[in-house]
Symmetry: C2
Subunit: 200 residues, 2 copies
Amino acid sequence: MPKSATRIQQKNQAAIMTAGLEVFSQFGFRGSTLDQVADAAGLSKPNLLYYFPSKDAIYTALLARLLENWLEPLHQMDDAGDPVEEILAYANRKLTMSRDFPRESRLFANEILQGAPRIKDVLAGELRALVEAKATVIKRWIAEGKIKPVDPVHLIFSIWSLTQHYADFDVQVRAILGDTDPFDTAETHLNDVFRRLLTP
Amino acid sequence: MPKSATRIQQKNQAAIMTAGLEVFSQFGFRGSTLDQVADAAGLSKPNLLYYFPSKDAIYTALLARLLENWLEPLHQMDDAGDPVEEILAYANRKLTMSRDFPRESRLFANEILQGAPRIKDVLAGELRALVEAKATVIKRWIAEGKIKPVDPVHLIFSIWSLTQHYADFDVQVRAILGDTDPFDTAETHLNDVFRRLLTP
DNA sequence: TGCTTATTTGACCATCTGGTCAAAGACACG
DNA sequence: CGTGTCTTTGACCAGATGGTCAAATAAGCA
């Protein structure tokens, strides 16, 4: 049914998503205005509302697209692989996402900070289930002596916080590091952290 | 000069700060309204503006008060103490702050997420200097073989992100942990992390 | 080319928001 | 109790904000 989408529609919808990401990730939903988004998209406000029915719809669409990719790196953690390397690889994937998609990370952070009003159910449902599944795998790895004992859920929290920090607190990180590129040095550091934590 | 402050003034100013913290930490500066703050403080809007000249003034006062305490735990890290224990103690102080003052942590996170417009100079000045000073101490500890080699600045970032995560992403953490208290288990986990990272 | 559909816009609206102000109430204190 | 100061408030304002609408313009296509 909703198949067709003219060239113009595709271009403008994409422009709006990009603009919305830029604005919402910085100011959060309530702190952003349609004029800002329209401006960033290079459209007039009524024109913007021709493509999306409301401010809320843009924001929700952004969140939905984000969630699609957000859980993917954790999904990819392979329970048949080498435990330490699998966990390291997951952390590296997340760090890469922080480098390449910092605005997505900040959009997510903003939503959570504000109490996650529109994604609480995803957190308590899909995300929680995924974490529990992976926690089981990690527990098995521990039981098999493949990695040192560690709280599996907090390990996952640690991966999230350590990697997302470089996107969410980018301004602070750069204020302190000066000209050094954060991500080059962060990668080495995080690999150290997780290797020493996990290698039996 | 600005000595006097009637009983009523003290009470209301305190109420406004508390209310402002509650509101601003959730919605950020632009996402919050004076009505929300006035409501939370149990005052009318004009009455609120009798005590503070503007929305900005409330927010700025909150940030100023926050920054006073924010750097303190790092300051306390004693270069004459036992290296591993000093760093662990610092992490524990930060974790305690996340537990006892989550709104302060979220206020800070919100400000940074939005690009830190009003505290960029503090970050690049006072904070950066403090971090560099402590990094020097950590480097000495490494040179003396008291702790394993580690990037000192990223170590400090790690302490920040791992501890603040439990305040800033509280909703997510609780959605996943269910009824378990996050902080009890987090403390053990973080001590594991830093001990394995640092103990020679 | 002409006609249909898709796109864009200027003008407009109700509501919200930060902030003002004069007048009314409450306090303190001699 | 009276009076000068501090506190509170209702009414109000200008500008911003999310959203609407009819009319104008641009594409697409036969």
